[in-house]
Symmetry: C2
Subunit: 159 residues, 2 copies
């Protein structure tokens, strides 16, 4: 292994910033970064990352990262899935630590579990603290980026 992780991160990054209409197109962009592999692998990666294909006025169809739980559920009526109670995110020895208001940890952890970005292997929640266990070879910043999609509140936090 070792290379797959880098590839998956690069795919996420490229897709989030560009309008990609085909796997071949994406394959070329990845080659430019020194990542060489075949379309078969890319097809599998896209499915693994749950990447969607959405209609686009200019390019017909383009790839798009899946909506985070936060985006999907925040606005809907009852607000059952909002990440309310979030306080902070810090890192210690590659592990993430989220602090929440008392009692909120497990609900936020379950949101993270549901989104299950590949950067995060899993999480353990107490009453007001969540331990985030990242995937190997994933940086602190990678984890932060993945979490921002799930917990919009993080965007405003500079820590």
């Amino acid at each position: 292994m070792g290379n797959r992780t880098e590839r998956l991160l690069a795919i996420k990054e490229i897709i989030s910033g560009n309008k990609i209409a085909s796997q071949e197109e994406l394959l070329h962009l990845l080659e430019r970064r020194g990542l060489n592999f075949t379309q078969a692998t890319l097809s599998r990666d896209l499915k693994f990352l749950k990447v969607n294909k959405i209609a686009d006025a200019q390019k017909g169809y383009i790839y798009k990262l899946p909506d985070s739980i936060g985006e999907q559920n925040r606005p809907i009526a009852n607000g059952a899935y909002s990440a309310q109670g979030f306080l902070s995110l810090q890192f210690s020895n590659k592990l993430g630590v989220i602090k929440t208001l008392p009692g909120y940890a497990s609900s936020i952890a379950s949101i993270i579990d549901r989104a299950s970005p590949f950067e995060i292997i899993g999480s353990i929640a107490g009453d007001d603290t969540i331990l985030i266990i990242p995937h190997d070879n994933v940086t602190e910043q990678d984890v932060r980026n993945a979490l921002v999609l799930i917990i919009p509140e993080l965007k405003e936090q500079l820590t």
Copy 2:
């Protein structure tokens, strides 16, 4: 023409209620309704309807109607795109009439314009009234269904 509209409505209905993984599958379901045409046409229809293909745990990828403006934007922070001010929807001679709070008509009309479901050709907004001009061969209920996706408030209105 005459048949295309019926086909497009059937496609929307089937996709919204079932997990469809391929055009061939959809084609068969449409045949059962007495709608006969080819995959080429279906491919064009799906693009026309801006149907997306999203990752699904069970079936790999499935077709999905585009998110409405309402769903997309309601929950995000500032709420700039919510259909606030909506009051009622009625019909008169195939034309829809939306009543809003004073001053809200144009903002709601612009939300409808952006979503631009094919059932609606266009809309004209005054200060507190919006005129909805439906596509030919589209029923009142069709228009209502399309609008529910855009203006969730409609769901609660029995009119």
